[in-house]
Structures are given as C-alpha cells and as structure tokens.
Symmetry: C2
Subunit: 351 residues, 2 copies
C-alpha cells in the first residue's frame, strides 16, 4: 500500500506552521464560545444522519436536501465514493492528494494516472484528457488542486463533465479548497451535479472555517448517488459539536467574503516575494497555498530546506511523497502578513 | 434493507428520557470544563490514527498499543469488522442491536440468527449454540446484550471462544455495556483476545462516560486484525476533542467504581418496583437497562404504553423493531432515584 503521511505534523508548538492549508484568519469569531457554551451537546446522541445540517446546507446552496450527504470530514466521503462505484477503471489527475489512490486501491481498483506536468504549470491539457477519460469509470479531480494550485474554471469544468457523461464515467470533483477562490460564488457546476449522475462534488468545511479538529465535510450530487452513500454510512458518523458549528458558520457570509479577499491579497504578496527569490520556481496559485520547487545549488532538496527553515521557526510541507513530484517540491500555506514576512525573510536567508 | 431506527429520539426536551442507555451520573465532573478550555483543539488536525489515545488505553488495559483500534464511536468498528472478514457465513445472537445485521448485509453476508427465547429469559443455551456456530465464519454477540440484559460471565465466554477457535470462526464480542457490570474488572477474556484471532472485542466509551455526542469507541484484538482494521480506516476519523476527553476520563477510576455501585443499587430498586407491577414481565438485567414485556389487558402494545407514559413526561424505548421481539416489548434505562420513582409511579398509574 502507498504511504499515508500527511501535512500537519508540525514538530513543535512554537513553530509557524505553513504545512497545513487552513484559513489564516482562524475560525469565525465566537466559535470557541459556541463550543464552550454548547459543551452539553456531548451528553446527547447526535442527529444520526445529520438531517438538520443537510437542510441548512440545502438552503445555503439552494439545492435539495436529498442532493447532500454529510461526512465525518470530506475524507470519509472520498472513501465512500471510492467504494460505492464498484468500478475497476479509475483515473486520477496527478500530482494530487494521495488518499484518492489509497481509497481506490482499498476497494479493488487499480487506478491509472493522468499526469499534469511542471513544464505546463500542472495545467490540464484539454486534448490529452479528452483522449484519456475511461469508459464507464470514475475520474478523480481535485479543484483547485492540492498541492499544485491548478484551477479549472466553470466552463472548462462543465466541458469535462459533458465528456465524462458521454463516456459513462463519473467525475469525483474534490472542491475541498474551492471556498478560498472566487469560483465558490458560481453555481453552474453545482447545478449540474444535482441533475447529472456524472458529477459528484466533495466539499470540506473544516479547512475554510479553520476547524479541522471537528471533522466535517459534505458531498453534493444526484439523489440516487447520495442515497447510495447514505446506505454505506454508519449512523452518528458526525459528532454533535461539528453538526452545530456547521449549521452556525454558514450564516457568516461576511467572514466568507473577508477570507477570500484576504487570501487573494496575501497570496499575491507571497507570490511576489517568492518570485523575487533566486533558486525558487513558483507555480501559479489559486487557493490558500503555493507550490514551489527548489532550483538552488546551495540546498539539495526539500528535506534539507525544511531542516534549515525550522531553525528560523518555520515549517513547510515536503511534497516529495506526492506521485509525480520529486524531492525538490514543497508547499507553503498562505498565512497572515507578519508570518508571511517571516517566511520570505527566512527563505532569503537560506537560499 | 432493514430499518435503521434507534433509541434517543426523545420527542421533547422536558421529557425524562429512559430510551437511551447512558450513564445516569452524567459525564465525569469537569468534562464540560475540559471541552470549554480546550475548544482551541478544533483549530488543529487530530492525531490521524489516534496513536496517543491508543497508548493511553494500552496502559489502562495493560495490553499492547498494537492490540487496539480506535473508532469514531464503536459503530464504526462494527461496520469495519463486518467488512474485513470477507465471509458469507455469519451468525448473530438475537434479539440484539440491529446494526450487526445491517453492517453484515452491507458487506454481502446473509447472516443467520441464533435466537434466544423469552421463556428462557434470553439466556444462551450452551448445547444449542455449540451445534450452531458456523465453520470459518463470524459470530456476533453483544455482552451484556442490548436489549435483553442477558450476560455471559468470563468462563462461559472463554468456553465460547474455544468453540469458535475450533471451528475457525471469529467471535465479535460487542462489550458496549460491559463497563456497567463487574465483568469489566476481569481480565481473562481481554487477555484471550490479544493472543487469539478468534476473538475481537468492541468497546464504547461514550455510553459509560455519558458523552455520546463526542463519538468514541475502540476494538481490542490480535495485532493482525487491528492492522487490517487500520488499513480500512480513513485518517482523522476521530475528532480532536473526543481524543483528548478519551485520554482524560481513563484516569478517573473513582467515577468508574461509583458508577458501577450506583447502577447496581438503582437497577435493583427498579427491578423490585417493576416486579411489583401487575401486567409487566421483567427480564433479569445486568447492565444499565431493563427489558420488559407488557402483559396487561388494558394496554395493547408498547406504542400505546409509550403514548400514555409521555403524558406523564416519560419516554421509553419501543423494542418492537428488534428481530425476535414483538410489539409488547420495551426497554427502560436505569436513571437516578428521583427519575426512577417517577417512572414506577407512572407505570402504576397506567397499568
């Protein structure tokens, strides 16, 4: 089996952690208070199938409750969709989150890989993918893609969905980071998923709302697919505090707008800073993280870079274990300005 | 598929809920404070495979960390063991928790049923089960059994494990309620499970510690079986607050002793009270709940009884949907004395 090492293993508490892709603004104001005040919720069983939260999300996205499935983190839904499509032919657009491959193999699929290339900034070549989509299979695509930052916009995505439909293939579209982009405000792709069995969307709530400790994600898609997911879910899969907080944060539209504006500005700031550093190649980001590659003679690989940056109190994500990347790639989360300045300064010193 | 209706759907907030089997003492003192003070944990990803909690449980039970798997509630582990034993031959000792059957069917097994009978107080007949255990299969047994309260003691259990081993069958022993009994203090059965692949034990932490909203359970068994469970688990399956609280409550031995003493006393009190009510048959309880059957001409079935008790502010669990029971059975949780008095009084009035 493939390895299961992920970000977020920040070695010490006083290190600034650029390895996890969490909203740098922190959770919406008052979230800790909500948890403290509702600690009594742990005394009761949660809603076994999160029906209330489904209704809340249904109103938020203006789609039916029956088009939603709630997961104990979006990772639960990655495993479930890999399971319900009893299909051997699967294709993963790489380099990407390693759990798609793991989940598919666990369910007896031997996935193929559609590799995007660093020379092309990891952008999907439309002609090439048209030739590669399997018949009657599934296609895993992360958009915006972790860790490359490559992003397909609405029209391109709808084109891909139509291609998949023609081939009888289902696109599993992991939008774990889409809320950090302006694409989150567009409705065309989501509208397509509720009426079209060729598209299932996965969303995370814990990255954008900075609460990964709580575990919460959801899937959007055709009623029949959501029913199939529910069939395989055990009851009470989502804890009561996650359900409550999930309902509450959706009301905070101001936080959503502020986050997107903040990320856009800081991402640009970091991009300029990193582009000015000799010995680095920076790939065009779209969400709250930036993929880079070492081009310096003075530092051999990301492992060595990580060791040196740690001395300056900074931790970044080694991307050497992503299929399709090598040990010179690493990923940086967009954080607050003061942290970002420290990162750029540390890079200048090391490289 | 079979129905997925469970207890804990108490219709109104001011009703005394005897339908869920939770520790009536409430969670250990200070648990809400721990959650309030550590609400900041939600900002960080949980330990992906709960290694810290495994080590804590390993010390608590004096077994190896490699003999433990942590679940998002013991229900996750019920689904996982039903999945990893790719076996068609399964037997469930009934009447019991409906999710064993659901989980087995989900994984392509058509389970058989070893029925215990009300004339025999739902006690397992040793000669009969000896003849019934399948070869190279799995056997699901809940001990103490929900909802009948029937309990096999250590020696009887070890005998059953030896029988299973001879047949090449694995006993899945759900001990979700064992902490409410004195059997929890004995070590023989657990010792057997870590060295013998014919026995896997499932434990719940949220019933005894009165925190079902948090979701936490674990499995104990042979290293090879625990590795197989881990292979099928998605990372970060247990939320960070559950992990922390799980570690903390294990230190509270005083609470454990007090709970067992309290339950033993109140169970006896309720048993005597219920036995004095004409029109009721009461089955010998062993944990924190009591199974009863209606024998009154004045009330037709449990549904009608529930309706009448609700008028007195009391909610009990209809057991009509348990395989092997009919619509005259119901289950009552053991609660605090004042609640229990109200229950007995209400029963006297209704029957």
């Amino acid at each position: 089996m493939i390895n299961r090492i992920h970000g977020g293993n920040c070695p010490e508490p006083n290190i600034i952690d650029f390895s996890v892709n969490i909203n740098p603004l922190g959770p919406p104001k008052g979230l800790s208070d909500i948890i403290a005040k509702n600690a009594g919720l742990i005394l009761h069983y949660p809603d076994p199938f999160s029906e209330r939260l489904k209704r809340r999300l249904s109103a938020f996205h203006d789609i039916g409750s029956e088009n939603i499935a709630i997961g104990n983190g979006s990772i639960e839904l990655i495993y479930l969709v890999s399971r319900i499509f009893k299909i051997k032919k699967a294709l993963i657009v790489t380099p990407t989150f390693s759990e798609y491959e793991y989940a598919l193999r666990l369910n007896g699929s031997m996935p193929g890989f559609f590799n995007t290339h660093e020379q092309e900034h990891f952008v999907i070549d439309r002609a090439k993918i048209t030739r590669s989509i399997p018949r009657a299979g599934i296609l895993f695509l992360c958009n915006p893609n972790n860790p490359t930052g490559s992003l397909l916009h609405g029209d391109e995505m709808l084109h891909l969905v139509r291609l998949c439909k023609k081939r009888g293939t289902t696109l599993i579209l992991d939008e774990a980071f889409i809320d950090f982009t302006e694409e989150a405000r567009k409705k065309a792709v989501m509208s397509e998923s509720v009426k079209n069995e060729s598209l299932v969307i996965l969303r995370s709530m814990t990255k954008f709302f900075a609460m990964p400790g709580l575990r919460l994600g959801y899937a959007i898609g055709h009623k029949r697919i959501m029913e199939r997911i529910a069939e395989f879910q055990y009851p009470w899969n989502v804890n009561g505090l996650a359900q409550l907080v999930g309902e509450r944060v959706l009301a905070n539209k101001d936080y959503m707008h502020r986050t997107r504006a903040f990320i856009a500005k800081e991402r640009q700031y970091m991009l300029e800073g990193l582009n000015n550093i000799k010995g680095l190649k920076v790939y065009p980001p779209s969400a709250n993280f930036i993929l880079c590659r070492l081009r310096a003679a003075s530092v051999r690989n990301s492992k060595e870079l990580i060791g040196r940056l740690l001395q300056d109190g900074i931790y970044i994500r080694d991307c050497g274990n992503f299929r399709g990347l090598d040990d010179t790639f690493f990923r940086i989360a967009v954080r607050k300005r003061s942290d970002n300045i420290r990162l750029i300064t540390a890079f200048k010193k090391v490289l």
